[in-house]
Amino acid sequence: MSSPIGQAPTVEAAVSSGRSGAHAYDVQGLFFCYGKLRAHDVRWVLRDVNLHVEAGEILGIVGPNGSGKTSLLKLLAKLAAAQQGDIALFGTSLAGLSQEDMARTVAFVPQESAQMFPFTVAETVLMGRFPHRRRTRWNLGFGWEDRDDCAAAAQAMATMDISHLAPRAVTDLSGGERQRTMIARALAQTPRVLLLDEPTAFLDLQHQIEICSVLRRLRDDHGLTVVIVSHDLNLASQYCDRIVMIKEGAVRSVGTPSEVMSVEVLREVYGCEVLIDPHPESGLPRITLPRQYVPFNV
C-alpha cells in the first residue's frame, strides 16, 4: 500500500494534464487464477502481467478466447483480486481503495447484462449515480435522485443516443439498445476511467462506429481513460491509441496499433496467417483474412 501523502502531486498532475503521460493504471507483476491458490497444479489465468494505462488514452486489450482479457479487466475494476502483484489507480494501490471509492472513479461495463425486471432505461442509467448518492442516516435508503443526478443521466443518454428510449423497459430492448444503455449507465457514473468488456459485440456496424467515436470524443474533450476488451482487431486497430496483445495470460506485445499488429505477432498469438495492409484513410494496420481461408472460393 502506498503512502497517501506522497501521492498527492501525482493525482493532481493526472487531473490537470490529461494526456501528459501520467498513468491511470500501473500494473506490476500480476498473477491471477480463479479459485483457491494451491501449491501444485496452479492454472494461472494471468501470468506476470506488467503494463500501464496512460491517463486519457484508449487502450485495447486483444487476444484469443480464454487468454485472460476479461480477467484482466475485472482485476482493473477490482471485481477480482490478484494472488500476486499490484495494481495502482492514479498512484494509489487498489488494495487501499474501497469498492465505493473505486465506483466514483472507475466505471465497468460487463459483456452482457441479464436484467430480469422491467426497469426503464432512465431508471437503469440513473443507477450509475448510486456511488454519488448523498448519505443520510434517516432517509431509510430511499435517497431520491436530485437534479445533478438527472442531468448526468440525461447527458449520458444523449451521448449514447438513447434519450428517446427513456421510458422503455430494458427487458424490451434489442441487444444493441441494451448495450448502449449499459454504457450510458457507466457514463452517468461520471468516471475518470471507463472499462468496457466487448462493448461492440452485440452492435451493428453503425453503432459500433458510433460508440468508438463517442469514446474518442470523451477522451479528447474530457480526458477520459478507456480500457476496452475486444475481439475485433480492426476496430481496436482503428480506434485504440495503444494495444495490449495477450496470449495465454501473458502480455505478448504492447504498443501502438502499427507496432502490435504484425503478421508475425498475429501468427504466433492466433496461430493463423492473416494479411495486413495500411488502411486507405488512416494508414493504420488493417487485418484481413487471406484467400485460402475463405471456404467455397474457386
Binding site: M116, L140, A151, M182, P191, H222
Partner: protein
Amino acid sequence: MMPSAGHSTSPAPAPSLASPPLPSPSIQIAGYDQPFQGAILTASRWWVIMGALSTVALLLALVCLQLGTQYVGLGQMARVFTSALFGLAGDNETAVTTSVILLQVRLPRVFLGFLVGVCLASVGVALQALLRNPLADPYVLGVSSGAALGVSLAVLFGIGTTVLALSALPICGFLGGLLALLVVYRMAATYERLPIHSVLLAGVILNAIFSALIMFIASIMEPNRSFGMMAWLMGSLTAPAYPALAALSVYLLVGLVLLFKQVRVLNILALGEEPARSLGIDTERTKRFIFLVSALLTGAVVSVSGMIGFIGMIIPHAVRLVVGADHRLLLPASALVGGMFLMVADTIARTSFVPSEVPVGIITALAGGPFFVYLLVWRKDRLA
C-alpha cells in the same frame, strides 16, 4: 434551461483516511430541467400511490371487520371502538358480545392477516431481486417449509414455551428458514449464473425433503397434537392474545424496517453481481444481511401462521406490472397489497363455509398455483 455546474465543481465525497482523494469526475454535465417525465419514479408519484394504497387498505380492513358469523355494522363498530377507547363499559349484553367479537377475535385476526401478508410479500420482493429470479418466493424456495420444520421440531421437543417472554418458535422457524436459504444460495453461488429453473428445482427438492421430515414428526406425535399441527401447517391465522401479538409485531416491524432500508441497494443488485460491485456495493455483506432478515421474517411468520404460499410471488409480480420495477416503490407497495390480499383471503376463509373454517393457505395456494403455472408457461420468454 440553465447549465448546472453542480457536478463539475463539487469534489468527490471525501474518501476514508486510508486512501488519498481520487480525481473528481471528468465529464462535464449540461443541465436539463425535466429530462425524464414519466420514465422514472419520483417522490410525488411515490406519495400518491402509497397514499392511495394505504387508504384502500384501511377501507378493506373495515369491510373485513364487518364480516363474520355475526355481521357488525359500521355504526356498531364505531360505538365499540369509542367505548373501548374511553373505557366505557357496554350497557347491555349484546353490546358486550359484539365488543368481544370485534376486539378479542376479529381485530387481532385481521391485523395478524395484514401483518403476515406484508411480511411474505416483502420477503418475496427481496428474494426475487437478490436471486434475480421473478419466481422466487419463500414458499416456492422451501424457506417456509424449512421454517416449518424448525417450528415442528421445537413443538416435538416441547420448547414451544416461552423464552424471555417471547415464544421460542419464531427463533426455531428462523433457523430452519435460514438453513433452506443457505442451501438454495449455495446452489446459486456455485454456478455463477444459475438458470431460474434450477433454483426452482432446488426449492422443489427442499420442499419435498422438509415436508417428509415434517410428516415424520407429525406421525410420531400423539394424534390430537399432530392434528393441530396439520391444521397449522396448511396455513391458518389464529390470532394470539394482545401481548403476544404486540411482541410479534415489534419483531416483524424491526425486520421490515431493516429490509426497507435496502430498497435502493436491491435496485442495483437486480443489475447483477458484478455491476453491483462495480457500483460500490459490498455484495457479499449485503446479500448475507438480506438473507438473514428474510429468514428472520419468514421464520416468525411461519411460526404463527403456518405455510401460506405464493403471496411472495404473485403480489410482487402483479404490483411490478402496475408501478414499475423500482424497489423504492415496489417493496412498500407490494407489502401493502400483500397485506390486503391475505386479509381478504382470510376473511373468505373464515366466512364462506360457516361454521367450519378453511385454512387460508388453501385459498392462497388455489389463487397462486394457477398464476405460477401461467408465468411458467405463457411468460416463459421472459424467464429464460
